[in-house]
Amino acid sequence: MEDDAPVIYGLEFQARALTAQAAETDAIRFLVGTQSLKFDNQIHIIDFDDENNIINKNVLLHQAGEIWHIGASPADKSVLTTCYNKTSDSRVLSCAAVWKMPSDWEMGSHESSDDSAHNPQALELLCRLDDTTHGNAACVLWEPMGDGKRVISLADNHALLWDLQESSTQATVSNIASLEGKGQLRFTSGKWSPHHNCSQLATANDTAIRGWDLRTMRLVHPSYRNARRLLLKLRHHCGQMATLYNSCCTSPQEQSQIYCIENAHGLLVRELDFNPNRQYYLASCGDDCKVKFWDIRNVQEPVKTLEEHSHWVWSVRYNHSHDQLVLTASSDSRLILSNMVSISSEPFGHLVDDEELSEGEDIHKDEKTKEPLKDSIVSTYEEHEDSVYAAEWSSADPWLFASLSYDGRLVINRVPRTLKYHILL
């Protein structure tokens, strides 16, 4: 029981960015980026000692600006990306960069955490993910389960696929997809699908969710526009040129876009997440206070809708191993853990385990009658006082998750034991 009590950690600054360290599978570790306009921003490395229920923190300086989004490399523990706001000359710029933690950050922390707070080390900049033509990065996505060589950054209405070279010190744009349409379009967030050989990307802009095929994203050629202009001129002369022009003119969006859920949420879509085990399933959340689950093969209607929050939902996360567990964070200061069995990859629980259990027939029968389990809200966590903008599952312990509210409070919780055993057994 005691173990189930939440562990709370307070940051000095307001914070929105939270991620689990993806490459770390032994220690339970979260990274938090702070938001402060007046001071040097920090990255807090939160280590959670599961056995002793103690939090160890390390602080690294992120001097470039306030952090809006943070992403950890799936391959290298010490590499991470941030999206940050830089203010200069009364202008606010959104940038993205790849950083490396200093190699000895762990050493310093163990000696005395107080010292590190006073005198923290700074992150080493590996490379900027800035393209002068494409500003305002909203988020940076690592290739899931990749080798840490490819990232996608979403900037304004462009999705840029970067190749990181020479141990991530150089980044080149290898592919670009753009969203075109009326008005000023901006991506709000995105997710790189772990399925289909990591060839798909889902993005959210305004009320729509779009899926992209990364293989057909257009290669960014510097003279792309020039070529188009040239082809336009030549079109009249030669039929071949005309077809070439047509293929150029059809926007990349049309070519690479796989699906589009217009008006997925009545209002802004805040975030989305792929089901790690079911390749066509996608969860999204937004300002209509709803969490929706989609089958991207049929996007007319959501498969399921959750309407538990009383304000905008900012984050939705599938558990990496048990995809019936879904975590949602909302600006109603609540975190909700739902058990969406019916649309999970294990809709009837563990069938194999059932057979193992069949020593007494009664138990077996019971299991059978229970089989179509019902979706339910497992728990609502109310430890936060302010809007919760981020929630993450630990990459090391599938039963553990962290949530971060704007006032800088990080709360680490566990899945209730009864549910854990119910899923496992």
Partner: protein, 836 residues
């Protein structure tokens, strides 16, 4: 003595003329006959001077005469008396003579009689002697005649036998003759009489011959009868005669039954075909007839716009041919009545008749009965299927009485069959059809009610969309058009209560009229209304549950759908409609549902045998719908305002903004819209309770606001020194509030609704502010805007602290997001806001 004589004389003179009677009277006295004498005696009994009285006293009489009378009178009296005495004497003498004469004559008569009797005795003796001799003679005669009498008897017997034989011998010829004359009955009768004899003596060749002849003839006769029977052209009476004769001829009854029934079937089937032909035109010709049929109906509908025009077209089209009453009438008159006729004649022939006759032993009645039942069932089933098909075509909901009357007639006529055939299940099946028709009708009514409801919602929607058309006509000309803007919202809302009341009234009326129509099914004069189904289940399950309750549920459900569908499409439902529906549902919860159900229960005398939906659960459902609608209304209105605020925050460059000179137009717009929403809600919902705020609320807003300003200042002053501000701030927040649920349920009153809307709007403002970075003047602009909102919004909410808190939060957050947090002076803010 003289005196006596005188007295008697005087008396006799007094009653001179009655002397004769007195003589008779005396004689009567003598013979004891004194009836008359008594009367006389009583009259004169007491007077001793009455000379004729029994108490006559001669002394008194004489003294009296002497005292009273003069001499002359005495002399007169004396002479008179002497006269009387003389006449009395002579009377006596004559009487004596008369008596004597009579005595002598009687003696003579007796002597004569004695002689006569002697003579008579002699004659009697002679008579008895004669009688004896007569008896003797007669005995002798009868003895001699004995032999002859026996012979005569024998002869007469032979004569009778001979006559019978003659009958037999003549039988073939007679039969033939009968056959020629078609006097079948006589022929059969004759044959029947002879049959036994012929059978008995068939071993004799001559009889055998006769019998054979007879057989042949009868065979022919039977043949002819059968032929006649088969032809079927003959009337029912002929037919039954035929059957009767054939039965007497030992024709197998079963075969006859079959034939009879077959014959009847062919005729009944003609009727059925006629009926079917009346149905068919619809299915085949409806497609071709439709346009023509619809054209007049739609024209009729257009002619009367006040009528329920959308339904009128659907009602009229199927009934363009014969109506159902006619159809049922025809079915009853043709089919059912001839069926009854067949049944009666059949029963007459095969069952009742057979029961009395010798045929009963052969179990014929049972067999015949079975056949009849099968026959009736078969035909009735076909009839029913036709009727049912026809009823199904009765889609319209217009005039229910026609259908009910038709069903009633249908049902009533089947009772005749039931009476004729007690064991038959035909009436039951008929009742089932009626029940099915009734339930079907109830379903149609439900559908009609639902479509009516949706239509009236569309009307309301249109009325809401074009409020000025209706309002400007009534209001002062040009006023609405000129002022526009905020006033248009007002115009739209003025009609809301009217719309609500007209909507609920029209729905209620519709329900009532439907109930009245359905009530026809249970009217007293309808025969099937006393069936247990119509008394119990129809009322409770049919009308109450599947009509009224379903409709109420439908209303709730469709209302809920407004919330769901509109959520994704961004408020396709006008907010005013949501508000109106929510009030409607709430009214339903508070009164209308119980009213409707009570009405239903009273009208239909519903006895709750089976479990029915209780009023409370319906009310709960309505309340839930009302709640959902109101919540949705709050959400939609909140989102509209949120959207304005969000756009205003997102589209501005807050870092490089100029020093605020006035409140941004958006904020004014927000306050305006909030005010008009407040008016709109106020039209339908009560004020509600708000936390008591003191009379100097406006002052307090400033004081509270100044505290927030202090807080902002405090935060600003604190930040340079230590990075601990957030925790402190959050602690302050904790003190302020428990937890604000933004999109939470609201109560059914204006204040709660407004609080909900304002909460949503301000929370959006807050979240948007947090996503931006502000310059110094950006922060100041937010300060001004918030103060402006503060000035106007507190009055709408239940707890003004809520507004204060959220606005503080906004200002606080923007201070945090500010690159150069230098708040504006409160007095300046106030001046700017006062200026508007």
């Amino acid at each position: 003595m003289d005196g006596e004589a005188d007295a008697s004389l005087a008396v006799s003179e007094d009653a001179g003329n009655g002397r004769r009677r007195r003589v008779h009277g005396m004689l009567k006295l003598y013979y004891g006959l004194n009836e008359e004498g008594k009367a006389a005696e009583q009259q004169e009994s007491l007077d001793p001077c009455d000379i004729n009285g029994p108490h006559f006293d001669p002394e008194l009489f004489l003294n009296k005469l002497r005292r009273e009378c003069s001499l002359a009178e005495l002399m007169d009296q004396e002479t008179c008396m002497v006269k009387q005495i003389r006449s009395l004497d002579s009377d006596m003498q004559t009487l004596v003579y008369e008596n004597y004469n009579k005595f002598i004559s009687a003696t003579d008569t007796i002597r004569k009689m004695k002689n006569d009797f002697k003579k008579m005795e002699d004659e009697m003796d002679r008579l008895s002697a004669n009688m004896a001799t007569i008896t003797d003679f007669s005995a002798r005669i009868s003895g001699t005649l004995q032999d002859q009498h026996a012979q005569i008897t024998k002869l007469s017997g032979v004569h009778a036998l001979l006559r019978k034989l003659q009958f037999l011998f003549e039988l073939p010829a007679r039969l033939n003759k009968c056959l020629e004359m078609q006097a079948y009955a006589q022929a059969v009768n004759s044959h029947r009489r002879a049959r036994c004899v012929l059978q008995q003596y068939s071993h004799l060749p001559s009889f055998k011959g006769i019998q054979d002849d007879c057989h042949a003839i009868i065979e022919k006769l039977a043949q002819e009868l059968r032929q006649k029977f088969r032809d079927g052209g003959s009337s029912a009476k002929d037919l039954s005669e035929c059957v009767e004769l054939l039965l007497q001829l030992d024709e197998p009854a079963e075969e006859l039954c079959d034939k009879f029934l077959n014959h009847a079937r062919s005729r009944l089937e003609l009727d059925l075909q006629g009926l079917e032909a009346e149905i068919k035109p619809y299915s085949s010709a409806s497609s071709t007839k439709d346009p023509s049929a619809r054209a007049p109906s739609s024209a009729a509908a257009a002619g009367s716009p006040t009528d329920n025009s959308p339904k009128a077209t659907t009602f009229l089209s199927p009934t363009s041919n014969t109506d159902i009453l006619e159809f049922i009438d025809r079915g009853c008159n043709e089919f059912v009545s001839s069926l009854c006729l067949v049944i009666t004649s059949y029963q007459e022939l095969f069952i009742n008749h057979a029961q009395t006759g010798e045929l009963a032993s052969k179990n014929i009645p049972q067999m015949a009965n079975g056949k009849l039942h099968a026959f009736v069932n078969d035909l009735a089933a076909r009839y029913f299927s036709l009727v049912e098909r026809r009823i199904q075509e009765e889609k319209g909901v217009g005039d229910n009485s026609l259908l009910v009357r038709a069903l009633d007639r249908f049902h009533r006529r089947l009772q005749a069959v039931a009476k004729l055939l007690p064991g038959s299940d035909v009436p039951n099946k008929g009742t089932e059809i009626v029940i099915r028709a009734a339930t079907e009708r109830v379903k149609q009514y439900l559908a009609a009610l639902q479509s009516f409801y949706l239509d009236s919602l569309t009307d309301v929607r249109q009325a809401l969309a074009t409020p000025r058309l209706s309002v400007s006509g009534a209001s002062a000309a040009g006023g609405g058009a000129l002022l526009g803007g905020a006033l248009s919202g007002r115009d739209a809302t003025t009609s809301l209560p009217d719309l609500l009341s007209s909507l609920s009234a029209s729905i209620l009326n519709q329900i009532k009229s439907v109930l009245a129509s359905v009530h026809l099914f249970t009217a007293k004069d309808i025969t099937f209304s006393n069936k247990p189904y119509f008394k119990g289940e129809f009322c409770s399950q049919g009308v109450r549950e599947s009509l009224v309750v379903s409709f109420i549920k439908f209303v709730c459900q469709s209302s809920r759908q407004f919330c769901e569908s509109a959520g994704d499409k961004g408020g396709s439902t006008p907010p005013a409609l949501l508000l109106l529906l929510s009030r409607l549902c709430l009214d339903y919860e508070t009164s209308t549902i119980s009213y409707i159900l009570t009405l239903t229960d009273e009208q239909f005398l519903v006895q709750h045998h089976s479990p029915v939906t209780p009023v409370t659960s319906l009310c709960a459902e309505a309340r839930e719908a009302a709640q959902k609608l109101l919540n949705h209304y709050v959400k939609v209105q909140g989102l509209i305002i949120s959207q304005m605020l969000r756009k205003s925050v997102e589209t501005r460059d807050w870092v490089n903004t100029i020093e605020p000179r006035n409140v941004r137009a958006v904020m004014k717009r927000v306050v305006e819209d909030t005010t008009s929403i407040d008016v709109q809600v106020g039209l339908l919902y009560e004020e509600g309770v708000r936390k008591a705020h003191s009379s100097d609320s406006s002052k307090r807003t400033f004081s509270v606001y100044s505290s927030s300003r202090q807080q902002a200042r405090y935060a600003a002053s604190y930040t340079p020194s230590a990075p601990m501000d957030t925790n402190l701030l959050s602690n302050i927040h904790k003190l302020f509030s428990e937890r604000i649920d933004i999109f939470s349920s609201v109560e059914f009153n204006k204040v709660s609704v407004m609080t909900g809307i304002i909460k949503i709007s301000l929370k959006t403002f807050l979240e948007c502010v947090r996503l931006r970075t502000f310059g110094r003047y950006g922060l100041q602009q937010i300060q001004v805007d918030c103060h402006y909102l503060q000035m106007y919004l507190w009055r709408f909410v239940s707890d003004e602290n809520l507004v204060h808190f959220l606005l503080d939060e906004i200002v606080g957050s923007s201070a945090h997001r500010c690159l150069d947090p230098a708040p504006m002076e409160q007095s300046v803010i106030e001046v700017i806001c006062e200026r508007g």
